[in-house]
């Protein structure tokens, strides 16, 4: 356990310079975007006098130079203060906190679904390689991969919400229903089906291809032939020898894809009106809410670091040769 904690700390320390570069880089990059959050507010208000604008800039601390603003931000960050969100008038930490749970739930569902379904379909395709199940699965995978997720999401809404009226067209839960316990869980689950499927299908296609290729590769190795030669039934060979080895690239990929999924959810969260981090990030850019955006990037970066750390630990479980 101690070793694990030490490892985690070392990882975090190694990531600090990367985090700093990301934050400073983003801060400077955003200075290139014309207009600031007061302009965005003016656009929302439909007008305001120059004195109003000047007073607001002072309030948001935008009247200082870029270097001063950056310095202030980093100083605050050093005391674990992410600052105030301009859009919501609340601390960034609490704004992100509200959204993080939704995104985490939504993404882990999508990731789990994509991983599980990709794994099963990949194994099925590999077992009957070049047979009709393989062709069918591979074709489907290609189709899923080619469909843009926002379009798929809209089509699912049209079919399942507008035409069939089976599932709600958007939102995270039924508003003001006052549900608790299992009823609330079920309510949220029905709201999440369509967005999870829309986001997961693209990734499912990738996992499926990966799993199929990886299975085929491992199946041609010597130790599999040995396992078969010693009389193990085919199912046992697949489960105990092939699958376990074939999983390694899959696990690597989950770590890599985690960050892609954060980005992919901007679109899906907008289409399904989910109150997640992706939409918050989008809104922050449009409204030039620097503090919120930097906060999201920081949290996302930490999440990616965390996930990759877990992936490393999983390697060790799957393949003892890698070791911790």
């Amino acid at each position: 356990m101690m070793r694990l904690a030490a490892l985690a700390l070392r990882r975090l320390a190694q990531s600090l310079p990367v985090l700093a570069v990301i934050l400073v880089g983003l801060f400077l990059l955003l200075q290139l975007a014309p207009g600031d959050t007061v302009d965005a507010l003016m656009a929302q208000m439909g007008g305001g006098s120059a004195e109003d604008a000047a007073r607001l800039r002072e309030q948001y601390g935008l009247d200082a130079g870029v270097a001063v603003q950056l310095g202030r931000y980093l100083l605050r960050l050093a005391s674990f203060d992410l600052g105030q969100s301009a859009i919501y008038g609340k601390p960034v930490a609490s704004v992100i906190g509200e959204r993080l749970a939704v995104t985490a739930l939504f993404m882990s569902c999508a990731l789990a679904f994509a991983f599980a379904a990709g794994l099963v379909l990949g194994v099925l395709a590999a077992r009957r390689v070049n047979g009709w199940p393989d062709t069918l699965i591979s074709t489907l995978g290609l189709v899923f991969y080619a469909i843009p997720s926002f379009w798929l999401g809209l089509m699912l809404i049209v079919l399942f919400s507008v035409k069939l009226a089976w599932l709600p067209p958007g939102g995270f839960e039924t508003i003001g229903a006052g549900l608790t316990g299992l009823a609330r869980v079920a309510d949220i689950a029905t709201h999440l089906v369509l967005p999870v499927v829309s986001l997961a299908l693209i990734f499912l296609a990738i996992y499926l291809r990966l799993m199929r290729a990886s299975m085929l590769e491992v199946m041609s190795l010597d130790f599999v032939r040995t396992a078969r030669a010693k009389g193990l039934p085919e199912g046992k060979v697949l489960r105990r020898h092939v699958l376990r080895n074939a999983l390694l690239p899959m696990v690597t990929f989950v770590g890599l894809q985690f960050s892609t999924m954060l980005g992919g959810s901007v679109v899906i969260e907008s289409v399904f009106s989910l109150p997640g981090l992706g939409r918050l990030a989008f809104e922050s850019v449009v409204q030039r809410d620097l503090n919120t955006l930097l906060g999201i990037v920081l949290v996302s970066a930490l999440l990616v670091i965390l996930v990759n750390f877990v992936v490393d630990l999983l390697y060790a479980r799957l393949d003892p040769r890698i070791g911790a």
């Binding site: 975007a33 014309p34 207009g35 600031d36 959050t37 302009d39 965005a40 507010l41 003016m42 656009a43 929302q44 208000m45 439909g46 007008g47 305001g48 006098s49 120059a50 004195e51 109003d52 604008a53 309030q59 859009i87 919501y88 008038g89 704004v95 509200e98 959204r99 809209l154 809404i157 049209v158 919400s161 507008v162 009226a165 709600p168 067209p169 958007g170 939102g171 995270f172 508003i175 003001g176 954060l262 980005g263 992919g264 901007v266 679109v267 907008s270 289409v271 399904f272 009106s273 109150p275 939409r279 918050l280 990030a281 989008f282 809104e283 850019v285 449009v286 409204q287 030039r288 996302s300």
Partner: protein
């Protein structure tokens, strides 16, 4: 992260008109109590306090909870809400409002003249956008008793202007909640406490705002009818259309759907689609010229560009017919000031070419381009109207030998580029008319707006006669003379053409036929909805 999908800010954040409580409407059966009305909102607002932020985005939510002194009735005339009646001194310097008695705030405290005084002096005059201009010469609000508020101006204020501005710029907030602290930082700004028919319940950022029936509402008579109102934030317009079609949402205000979905749903028997009840929110899609560019400083060139646009075609094919040609800076919906006139620059390509030749910009045979450099056009990101108009201008001007380069930007980038840096030759824009030309229309033509003030004259237009006309009209107390001064203003604006008010349109509402007693005044989406009700599904 994929952040490229740009999303136009809706509706340009316009301001609205007033809403009366016309008792019960006829012909819809007896109103029924109960039910939840769910409304689509495209963009979230930073505050829900209409006393410090004037925009339709705030009114569409907050004006159900916070009420103004005066609103507009079905005929568009001022009618009392928190003020029962009013009288004005002949010199236009003193306006007395007699306030409604027996009104309580949602927290149970009584509503008094002190609240009006606080709202006017601390919020409308000091913070509220457009209010800071309107109330610039407001010296004091005196409170001789709890139910009388006397507005003292140091410069004559026409009664008509004040009354027509109040529905937007006259929401009253409770002094006891706001006093003695930073108004902008007050938590009630996102959890409104008002006197309105609905009480704030909760605001989930990124999801919804929820308000419930105020059982102690001062109008009594069983009002309001609805139990609850839910405003859902759905930024994706295609998803919003699906939410309407599935019955999850019953009302999409302020052109919240894409125009093609609006056209599609107008043929669906379950929905009412149209501009009725939005007349008070009339706006123009405009083309602004930067007079600092040499070619455009010649009025003949500006007129030629106006003549080159086939606006009938644009309205029919781009705006699906939900618009009409503009006839000057005062729209046809403005009954007290509008004088009918034809669209000033009819589509006439030959005339456009002749004007350009006359101005000395002949079409050379070499490349056919009249100008040495192409014109740089910044499309205003206020939705389909202004974005499509930019493309339309580009293609129309190619026909008369003017090349246009479009540079698309998002809202902050656009405002900075056009109104602060003046880094444009042409721009499309959105002129929101707010019931009286003095509120937000004449600033488009008068000189003296500081650099960077959006929606003002930032194109380098300067005509002393224009400035004199605008100033005279703003303080003229006689309504007839005021109207005639604004006719002079319109004529100057058309002749000088620093900005072409090309197309005039009201916002489009899409709502379920179950929603009754709706769109009964010219600014219904911004009014209180106290007598709206839902028929059973």
């Amino acid at each position: 992260m994929e952040l490229r999908r740009r999303q136009a800010l809706t509706g340009a954040g316009g301001i609205a008109l007033g809403g009366l409580m016309p008792g019960l409407a006829f012909g819809q059966g007896a109103p029924q109590r109960g039910g939840t009305l769910t409304v689509q909102i495209v963009g979230e607002q930073r505050v829900l306090n209409p006393a410090i932020q004037a925009s339709t985005g705030v009114y569409v939510m907050a004006s159900k909870m916070v009420e103004p002194l005066v609103d507009l009735d079905a005929a568009g005339e001022p009618t009392g809400v928190l003020a029962e009646r009013w009288d004005s001194a002949p010199d236009g310097l003193t306006h007395t409002f007699h306030l409604r008695r027996g009104v309580t705030w949602h927290d149970g405290k009584p509503f008094t003249s002190k609240d009006v005084q606080f709202s006017a002096m601390e919020c409308w005059k000091k913070i509220l956008n457009y209010g800071t201009t309107l109330y610039l010469f407001l010296e004091a609000v005196e409170t001789p008793d709890e139910h009388t508020a006397v507005f003292k101006f140091s410069r004559p204020m026409p009664q008509g202007l004040l009354l027509r501005a109040l529905p937007d710029l006259g929401h009253v907030i409770p002094a006891h909640v706001y006093e003695g602290a930073d108004i902008r930082a007050n938590p009630a700004n996102t959890a409104p406490i008002g006197t309105g028919p609905f009480k704030f319940v909760e605001y989930q950022r990124g999801q919804y705002l929820l308000a419930e029936r105020n059982p102690n509402y001062w109008r009594g008579n069983g009002l309001p009818y609805l139990d609850r109102i839910v405003w859902r934030f759905i930024s994706d317009r295609a998803a919003a259309a699906a939410a309407i079609e599935s019955g999850q949402v019953q009302f999409s205000p302020y052109s919240g759907l894409s125009l093609s979905d609006i056209a599609r749903l107008s043929k669906d028997a379950r929905f009412t689609v149209g501009t009725k009840g939005n007349e008070g929110n009339t706006a123009h899609t405009v083309c602004e010229y930067n007079l600092r560019r040499k070619e455009l400083s010649d009025v003949r060139v500006r007129r030629a560009i106006a003549h080159a646009l086939d606006l009938d075609f644009f309205v029919e094919n781009f705006l699906f017919g939900y618009a009409r040609l503009g006839t000057g800076p005062i729209p046809s919906s403005s009954a007290p000031f509008y004088v009918p006139r034809p669209a000033p620059y009819p589509f006439d390509k030959a005339r456009a070419e002749a004007l350009l030749d006359e101005a000395g910009y002949k079409r050379p045979s070499r490349n056919g381009q009249r100008f040495a450099q192409p014109l740089k056009l910044l499309p205003a990101p206020w939705g389909e109207y202004t974005l499509n108009f930019a493309t339309f201008i580009q293609q129309s001007l190619r026909e008369i030998g003017i090349r246009v380069e479009i540079e698309a930007r998002d809202a902050p980038g656009f405002l900075t580029g056009v109104y602060r840096n003046h880094d444009f030759d042409l721009t499309t824009g959105w002129h929101q008319y707010r019931n009286d030309p003095a509120v937000s229309t004449t600033v488009w033509f008068r000189t003296g707006s500081p650099v960077g003030a959006p929606w003002t004259n930032q194109y380098g237009y300067d005509n002393p006669e224009m400035d004199r006309t605008i100033d005279a009209a703003a303080t003229e107390l006689d309504p007839a003379r005021r109207k005639s001064l604004y006719q002079d203003f319109v004529k100057l604006a058309i002749d000088d053409l620093p900005v072409h008010m090309a197309v005039e349109h009201a916002f489009i509402s899409v709502y379920s036929k179950r929603l009754m007693n709706s769109h009964t005044n010219p600014r219904w989406a911004s009014s209180s909805w106290a007598d709206a009700w839902l028929a059973p599904a």
